[in-house]
């Protein structure tokens, strides 16, 4: 219990620290004192105030919320597939969502319709469900978790290839945006998008939290869960829907973000030394937020003024964790 409280405190402190750093650092460094003043006085008239309130704050909020959402999606998928290296990106869910969003955008552009956030989420959700459906078909046939991951990566590649194809030939000035987006970035997110994503993500978070009891039973295996009285089919549908919704939401706003969804739950489990959903659901969310803020900070500031795509940074930190897991799980792996 104490360990968990301490771990929550550490994550909370990191979140605050990274938030402040994110506000401070950028193409124009705003001194800390100035940052505090602007936050206190709600000053959005001065140049620094404008930067903080209209650019950095929404971006910060989006990075935290979407990072959390992605980590939670990863945790739900890992629980569902009982596979520690499952996640929205490696299973191709993010790429599926990306493809659908790209198609929808192009379709919209061709007809002169500007997609709003809700439509983007819906399109991404359909794409995510499509990929998820493919993965479920495959997982019904193969028991080995490595094969499942390989299939997911393949689906991801196919979706990305189609997306690239579509983007390449849909030559329109606006496609440049789409191109940037399809690599994954938080740049350009404004308050109106944050106002959509926050209630959406938190609603899903609460629903997931309410599932923590059957989820903990499910961690022992399907047969035991069934014997304990879990309504398996209903529970499974909920897990799929919730994790797809989260992945879709992230993709709709920030494009595909690699490895964060796989690595964060794993790191959080180690930090908290438990896999109990009732702890892990809030913890993963917090951990994902911290991880994402950290990566976004690096993405913005490492080669400033050039901005890296967020996936570039998350891959550098996330992929080694996944490799480490694959190696260390070999021993415990049964399939």
């Amino acid at each position: 219990m104490r360990r968990k409280i301490i771990a929550f405190c550490i994550l909370g402190a990191l979140l605050v620290l990274l938030a402040v750093l994110n506000l401070h650092i950028g193409s124009v460094d705003v001194p800390f004192g100035e940052v505090l003043r602007i936050l206190r006085t709600h000053d959005n008239t001065s140049a620094a105030g404008q930067i903080i309130w209209t650019i950095r704050m929404p971006r910060l909020a989006a990075a935290a919320v979407l990072g959390g959402a992605l980590a939670l999606a990863g945790f739900l998928m890992q629980t569902f597939f009982s596979n520690p290296i499952a996640g929205p990106f490696v299973l191709g869910i993010s790429s599926g969502a990306k493809l659908m969003v790209a198609l929808a955008m192009i379709w919209g552009l061709a007809r002169g319709v500007i997609m709003n956030s809700a439509w983007m989420i819906l399109a991404a959700f359909l794409g995510a469900l499509f990929s998820m459906g493919l993965i479920l078909l495959i997982s019904g046939r193969v028991r080995s978790m490595s094969v499942l991951i390989v299939c997911g990566v393949m689906i991801g590649y196919i979706c990305s290839a189609v997306t690239d194809f579509v983007v390449t030939f849909a030559d329109d000035a606006n496609i440049v945006n789409l191109h940037n987006w399809s690599k994954g970035s938080f740049s350009g997110i404004g308050w109106e998008q944050v106002r959509v994503m926050v209630p959406f993500v938190f609603a899903v978070l609460i629903l997931a939290f309410l599932l923590s009891k059957p989820m903990s039973a499910y961690q022992l295996g399907e047969s035991y869960a069934k014997n304990l009285g879990v309504n398996l089919s209903g529970f499974r549908v909920m897990l799929i829907l919730l994790s797809s919704m989260l992945a879709a939401c992230v993709t709709a706003f920030a494009g595909p973000i690699s490895f964060l969804g796989v690595a964060t739950p794993h790191l959080t489990k180690r930090l908290f030394s438990t896999a109990r959903p009732i702890v892990m659901i809030p913890a993963c969310f917090l951990g994902g937020a911290v991880f994402c803020l950290f990566c976004d900070l690096l993405a913005r500031f490492l080669f400033a003024p050039t901005e890296l795509s967020i996936s570039t940074v998350t891959a550098v930190f996330g992929a080694p964790v996944v490799i480490y897991m694959m190696l260390s799980r070999r021993k415990e792996q049964i399939s």
Partner: protein
């Protein structure tokens, strides 16, 4: 005995994976409370399919399963979860879970929306962990367990659901022989002591023999046979069931291999002379009533373990049969280990079973023992075991006449000289004894470690008071006196009274009551803190010395020195009318020695004998007991 309640019942049940392809058809059986039903059959006969259907993992094809009279497949999932739990073959994933968390997962049907455990839930989990002896595993990560330990934890988890029916699918696979035995014992005790109905699928005949009350045999898509284990598990039938050529299944007699663990040591258990006598008697009775010698005989000891042996030295005539069974003392060094315990059985006219002692079985010559003076030294539990075994055979053979059983031990007279029988007043041979039928060996080191462990456990719960007593007599006496209701833990310390006191002091106990039989307690008056007779005797000497100090004359002292038992000493003192005085004198000495060893703990002692009850207490005992019962008299 009234028939126990039916817990689970199936009627014309068909099970399988597809409607038109039933794996097993028309299954009908009942399982009662406290019963172990084994599903046995060759691979692919449908054991697991049936079990999965009972567990609702599979839908039934047709027919009905009743769980306590209700249609199982119509019941709500959480209702079933509170009445039936599972143990499956596959290793559950339990990432980063300690064993305690795995066990606590069994509380699922009882917890609220978020699955947060209440204090009662935790207590139930704790109790289940203790029940399965998995305390030392509780905080270890589940994935790090060995197969056998894992099954123990999973059983605890299953228990944590507080079920009435327990389903186990091939739980003995991957287990080595030691864990198989442990598992079999666990299943039996859950059925017998906790009254659970256990349904278990097994493919191993030996394992089935160890735990089954009844066996349901599946073959060729149907129930081939269902019946009591002893009736079903014959060589002939099993060969047929598994499709083996006649004679190919050799049924070796089960070697008696059970182990006890004490203080981290593993010691093999054995069986008592009483068990041997009952086995020999039942073999001889079988020969006499059925005409053939059985290849092996078996019985279930009062402790619950089954002993199966091959009788030796077979002899028979027109009106008698006799044979012997070798005693196996396990890892308990004992002069009787390997001795042949024989029984001769004759038919008699008058109904009933009479038991007597022959050559090599001692005769009781002094009072105070299990049997009255003049009787053969065959204690009451072995007598009961012999009677039960023989009368069972009589019933099976429809024999209504009487039987006379004479127990004899060919080397008994020689062997007895190396025992304490001569001192106890048992002459001419060995005693036939044993209360559980099983010899549970205990090494000295292991014993003291066990005592220390028990003291530590109670101390860990904050207890400051303890009652120490050497053994079973003491426990009975404590119950008679009602001291077990004082809320003070009773710790059996065997002969290691000194060690127990040292440990109690180390663990921070403040008040100790030592109570024991006079035969042990009198030694404390001489400062003998290990009361095993191997260490020192001195009982007569102490009686004599204290009697002399109380004014007994020389002839009384001589009489005392000639006594065989402490009860005999007490009789002499009573004759002289100085028992009270001498007891007080002795108890003062006991008190002085105990206080010296107790090093600051408040210590009292109470002494009794089986014949005379409470003989006396040290000063301050009454006050201590009054305080413990919460009604301390005013100063």
């Amino acid at each position: 005995m009234t028939e126990k309640r039916i817990r689970l019942e199936t009627r014309s049940l068909d099970v399988g994976y597809a409607k038109d392809k039933a794996v097993v058809r028309d299954i009908g059986f009942t399982v009662r409370a406290g019963e172990v039903l084994v599903l046995l059959g060759p691979n692919g006969s449908g054991k697991s399919t049936l079990l999965k259907t009972l567990a609702r993992q599979l839908d039934r094809l047709s027919g009905t399963v009743y769980l306590k009279g209700e249609d199982l497949h119509q019941m709500a999932a959480h209702e079933v979860a509170r009445q039936m739990s599972l143990l499956l073959t596959d290793r559950p994933r339990a990432e980063l879970m300690t064993c305690r968390e795995v066990v606590e997962a069994g509380r699922y049907p009882y917890t609220g929306h978020l699955g947060i455990l209440s204090r009662e839930d935790r207590e139930v989990a704790d109790r289940c962990i203790r029940r399965m002896g998995a305390q030392e595993l509780a905080d270890r990560p589940f994935y790090a367990l060995s197969d056998g330990q894992r099954q123990r934890v999973l059983l605890a988890r299953a228990l944590c659901q507080e079920p009435e029916v327990l389903l186990l699918d091939e739980p003995a696979s991957y287990l080595d022989i030691r864990y198989q035995l442990e598992l079999a014992q666990a299943m039996r005790s859950l059925a017998k002591e906790d009254g659970l109905s256990v349904i278990v699928s097994l493919h191993d005949i030996e394992m089935t023999r160890r735990c089954a009350d009844r066996v349901l045999c599946l073959k060729d898509g149907r129930v081939d046979r269902i019946g009591a284990a002893d009736e079903v598990l014959t060589q002939e039938y099993l060969e047929k069931l598994f499709g083996l050529a006649a004679g190919s299944l050799s049924m070796p007699k089960e070697k008696f291999e059970h182990y006890t663990r004490a203080g981290g040591k593993r010691l093999r258990m054995g069986y008592t002379t009483g068990t041997c006598a009952a086995l020999a008697a039942s073999a001889a009775a079988e020969k006499l009533l059925n005409g053939v010698w059985p290849a092996s005989v078996s019985l279930r000891t009062p402790k619950g373990l089954r002993v199966e042996v091959t009788p030796e030295e077979l002899r028979d005539g027109s009106d008698f049969a006799s044979c012997g069974v070798r005693k196996d003392a396990g890892d308990d060094a004992d002069v009787t280990d390997g001795a042949l315990i024989c029984a001769e059985v004759r038919l008699t006219g008058e109904p009933g079973i009479r038991i007597g002692g022959g050559k090599g079985v001692g005769t009781v010559t002094k009072p105070g023992l299990d049997q009255p003076q003049g009787e053969a030294a065959i204690n009451s539990v072995p007598r009961r075991m012999i009677t039960e075994a023989v009368s069972g055979i009589c019933r099976a053979a429809d024999y209504e006449g009487g039987i006379a059983v004479t127990v004899f031990v060919p080397d008994g007279e020689e062997l007895a000289k190396k025992t304490f029988n001569p001192d106890l007043g048992i002459e001419g041979g060995l005693s036939i004894l044993g209360t559980s039928g099983i010899v549970e060996p205990m090494s000295v080191q292991a014993l003291t470690a066990t005592i220390a462990l028990e003291l530590r456990q109670h101390a860990a719960q904050g207890e400051k008071r303890v009652i120490l007593t050497p053994g079973n007599y003491g426990e009975t006496f404590i119950k008679e006196q009602g001291w077990d209701r004082l809320g003070v833990s009773v710790v059996k310390c065997s002969n290691f009274i000194g060690e127990a006191l040292d440990e109690a002091r180390l663990q921070g106990y403040e008040e100790v009551l030592v109570t024991g039989h006079i035969g042990k307690m009198v030694k404390l008056a001489g400062g003998i803190m290990n009361t095993h007779s191997r260490e020192a005797d001195c009982r007569r000497e102490l009686f004599t010395a204290h009697a002399a100090l109380c004014g007994a004359g020389r002839n009384v002292c001589e009489k005392l020195m000639a006594c065989a038992t402490t009860d005999a000493c007490l009789a002499v003192l009573e004759e002289e009318g100085i028992r009270e005085d001498v007891m007080r004198h002795l108890l003062d000495a006991v008190s002085a020695h105990l206080e010296k060893r107790a090093g600051g703990m408040r210590i009292s002692a109470a002494v009794f004998s089986n014949e005379r009850g409470l003989l006396g207490t040290t000063q301050g005992t009454d006050r201590l007991l009054a305080e413990w019962s919460g009604c301390a008299p005013e100063e």
